[in-house]
């Protein structure tokens, strides 16, 4: 059984520092396990969010050795033995305490997106949709709302003031999902262009790289949304044709 040193950020909005904790880490553990060992033995009040411990709930996001990750899916054997592992809260959102941040921005943005508005059902009250038509939507709906993409996006990471006019990659995924939903009839193009601020994204792809669900955020969500906005504003006829034919 190996000893490891975890260099964990401790503190709140008033300030804080990294504190070293050395504990035993049996074979096969993930970062979250070791954080739990620290919590149970050395720092009972260490604040951390988690639920599923299996990469399904998106609660345990943190920056491990500077890289945004889900702690429950980050194996300890990824790191060179003998060196301390730094665990810090995600940076883009205001700190509450230790590894816990205030992610309420995301819940506020979710409210601004107009609801799903389905077309009327078939005569039997249900819908027919082919698997190929739902594949793309299903890719987007894999999102576990870990907000790691929000964390790395420089538009809000380096410029918190942009949060007023930029929804962030997670919500471009949501918007793309609604826009490409085979049943949806709502028009959100103006919102995507303006309130969501899609023009501010310069396609660095950092969001795609960190997504634990392998959602192709830029290629499959953001770029098609940008195209829609462009079509609409520079080629309204093509846009109307698209709406009518579903292309």
């Amino acid at each position: 059984m190996a000893e490891v040193t975890m260099r964990i950020f401790r503190g709140n909005a008033n300030g804080g520092e990294f504190v070293d904790y050395t504990v035993e880490a049996p074979e096969g553990q993930v970062v979250l396990d070791v954080i739990h060992t620290v919590q149970a033995t050395l720092a009972n009040d260490l604040a951390v969010r988690w639920n599923c411990k299996a990469g399904k709930c998106g609660s345990c996001s943190a920056e491990v050795n500077g890289k945004p990750r889900l702690m429950c899916m980050t194996r300890m054997n990824l790191f060179p033995p003998g060196e301390p592992i730094a665990v810090a809260p995600i940076k883009t959102f205001p700190l509450i305490r230790d590894l816990v941040t205030d992610v309420s921005f995301n819940f506020a943005v979710a409210k601004e997106i107009p609801a799903f508005k389905p077309r009327p059902p078939e005569a039997d009250g249900t819908y027919r949709m082919m698997q190929v038509d739902v594949d793309r939507g299903q890719e987007f709906r894999k999102c576990i709302e870990c907000f790691l993409c929000q964390d790395v996006c420089h538009v809000i990471r380096d410029h918190p003031e942009n949060k007023e006019r930029f929804f962030g990659p997670r919500f471009f995924v949501r918007l793309a999902e609604l826009e490409m939903h085979p049943l949806d009839m709502e028009d959100r193009t103006e919102l995507i262009r303006k309130a969501a601020g899609i023009g501010m994204c310069n396609i660095t792809k950092c969001c795609t790289e960190v997504c634990p669900e392998d959602i192709h955020i830029t290629d499959n969500a953001i770029i098609p949304l940008k195209e829609r906005v462009a079509d609409r504003y520079y080629d309204p006829f093509r846009w109307i044709f698209g709406k009518l034919t579903g292309k």
């Binding site: 919590q39 709930c57 409210k111 059902p121 709906r141």
Partner: protein, 598 residues
């Protein structure tokens, strides 16, 4: 006097999983001013982890399926101890609740003709589970959450309810605290809906998260409501066993639904040796028939790998005991040799991911090692089937925290549908009840103050760490109140629980009230210990084996015990009492359904 904020609502829903969200949506649609309170962030409740699917007799894959067959499967899976009316409503209403999710934006996997696809699961006669790969719970919770967001429901996230308040014999509100700041919050409410989920964190090997400390069960019990069926705790047959840190994490039954088989160290498909008399007529007894069943369910009987969970968990337990287990104390689950890599990744993407990342195992080429894990609580708040009302006026319960629906054992997929059917009913009835009240119940400020003081108490103590108490409780429940039970062990467990209660009284916490998990755990210990005691007492009382409750000293299923539920109540001096209560009587036409051949 302690400081706190106060809020007024018609309906306060405690819990934001599938049941709580569906209840809040319904209460709010009825015009009730509704609050939704949850311990975690919105969208992180246990429901998000559900994998396999939602059971509903849509008849999309097998047109022979209908609510009657679903009802029958559910009752038989529950060893006939289910509340028949709940099982009936559930089977009848589940299809409409699933279609409703689709109208709200859910994207289920499709059949070739574009309808909602359905997969096979344990104990279900036909392919019945609507699903999205193996992340059905995520689809469900997101759909409900996204639907609820525009409905004017006030959401209180990371807010834990610690006590219910009463005015005379009826509910008048609830007290809790914000996890972030530690400050106290009081709700004045006409009605409260409990949708807090389960109790699995009382065991060491579990698929459940830190949230599952039995809060709702305990809140109801302390408020004087009845609990029933507390002896029935489901151990899911397939949890991960290696490496140790992931022990207990769920491997969906969908693996077997997609064709996966269970084998022992000798390579034998051992389940054929464990077909119980009760299911013999409907279970394949040769490998050939079992394999044909995956393609043609009408002319073949179900593979024993998909017997109800209690049967499979016991069989695995027995194989390991007999020395035919895998290196790390489980057995094998094999999908690699049964389906192509492509098919596996398509149908079970998160299982593929989970094993690859957590165990360095590629399930498209290698067998998984699996073993039983504590998973689901059948027992819970006794409710009226139609209204979800508990025995306390103004208190409602739905989802895993409610008892009765699943009897002695739940079938896979029947929980997600249960959440929708009874979540809706609970929200509806709570709103109606709130409307019917002539005057709002009164909250007694002294009562609220007393709770606030109790919440602060752990900071004034300097006893041992609450983590140590929790660890010892989990070990005791794992060893003494597990899959196979005996009287001496259950008595020993009761003894230990008493000692742990004493220790919990002294457990102290460090730090301050701001987002302090040690403090949260010190408070959660009260409910963990309450439900542990309830399970143990009920298990001692039921002197037979039925469904998920197996007594080594009473191995047979006794017809007499099939006529009673065990009710757990608070006695006059706060002690826990146990009472046998007759099962509600099923009407003749439903009983006839159970007699009919499959």
């Amino acid at each position: 006097m302690p400081d706190y904020e106060t809020h007024d609502y018609d309906v306060v829903v405690v819990g934001a999983g599938g049941a709580g969200l569906r209840a809040a949506i319904e209460a709010s649609a009825q015009g009730a001013k509704t609050a939704l309170v949850c311990k975690s962030l919105l969208g992180k409740a246990h429901t998000v982890m559900a994998e396999g699917g939602i059971a509903a007799a849509l008849g999309n894959v097998y047109s022979e399926d209908n609510w009657q067959v679903h009802f029958r499967d559910t009752m038989r899976g529950g060893k006939m101890l289910n509340n028949w009316r709940m099982a009936e409503l559930h089977a009848r209403e589940a299809p409409e609740r699933v279609h409703e999710l689709e109208r709200w934006g859910a994207l289920f996997d499709r059949t070739k003709d574009g309808r909602i696809s359905q997969r096979a699961f344990g104990g279900h006669r036909f392919d019945r589970l609507a699903h999205v790969g193996d992340r059905t719970g995520l689809e469900m919770i997101r759909t409900l959450q996204q639907h609820a967001v525009h409905k004017g429901i006030d959401v209180f996230m990371e807010c834990t309810i610690s006590r219910l308040l009463k005015d005379g014999d009826r509910i008048s509100g609830a007290v809790g605290y914000w996890r972030e700041s530690g400050s106290v919050i009081v709700f004045r409410a006409k009605a409260v809906v409990l949708a807090t989920g389960g109790i699995g964190k009382a065991w060491k090997i579990t698929s459940n998260s830190w949230e599952y400390t039995g809060d709702g069960h305990s809140l109801a019990h302390w408020a004087g409501a009845d609990l029933i069926d507390m002896e029935f705790v489901q151990f899911h047959p397939t949890g991960m066993v290696w490496p140790p840190s992931v022990r207990g994490i769920l491997v969906t039954e969908g693996v077997r639904g997609e064709g996966g088989t269970l084998t022992n160290s000798e390579g034998e498909r051992f389940m054929f040796r464990y077909i119980p008399e009760f299911f013999r007529a409907e279970t394949a007894d040769t490998v050939e028939e079992a394999d044909r069943w995956f393609q043609d369910k009408n002319n073949n009987r179900r593979t024993p790998d998909l017997l109800p969970r209690d049967e499979v968990a016991r069989a695995i337990n027995a194989e390991v005991k007999a020395g035919r287990g895998s290196p790390h104390g489980g057995v094998y689950l094999d999908i690699a040799s049964r389906r192509s890599a492509e098919e596996i990744k398509r149908a079970l993407p998160s299982m593929y991911h989970q094993f690859k990342q957590l165990a360095d195992v590629d399930i498209t080429t290698t067998r998984m090692e699996i073993g039983p894990t504590c998973h689901y609580m059948m027992g819970g708040v006794r409710v009226d089937a139609d209204t979800a009302a508990s025995t306390v006026p103004g208190l409602f319960a739905a989802g895993e925290v409610a008892g009765g629906m699943h009897g002695a054992n739940r079938l896979g997929g029947n929980s997600l549908s249960d959440l929708l059917v009874f979540g809706r009913r609970a929200g509806l009835s709570a709103a109606e009840y709130a409307k019917s009240l002539a005057s709002a119940p009164r909250v007694n400020p002294q009562e609220a103050d007393a709770v606030a003081r109790e919440l602060a108490a752990p900071f004034e103590r300097d006893g041992e760490s609450p983590y140590a108490v929790q660890r010892d409780l989990q070990s005791a429940m794992q060893e003494l109140v597990g899959i196979i039970r005996t009287q001496p062990e259950l008595e020993e467990a009761l003894q230990k629980i008493q000692e742990l209660k004493e220790r919990a009284q002294h457990a102290g916490v460090e730090g301050n009230r701001q987002y302090n998990p040690g403090w949260h755990l010190a408070l959660d210990l009260q409910s963990l210990l309450t439900v542990s005691e309830a399970v143990t007492r009920a298990a001692l009382e039921r002197k037979e084996s039925r469904g998920a409750h197996t007594r080594d000293d009473f191995p047979k299923t006794e017809p007499e015990w099939g006529k009673v539920n065990i009710a757990v109540r608070q006695g006059p001096s706060g002690t826990m009492t146990i009472q046998k209560e007759p099962l509600p009587q099923m009407p003749g036409e439903l009983a006839a359904l159970l007699e009919e051949k499959k």
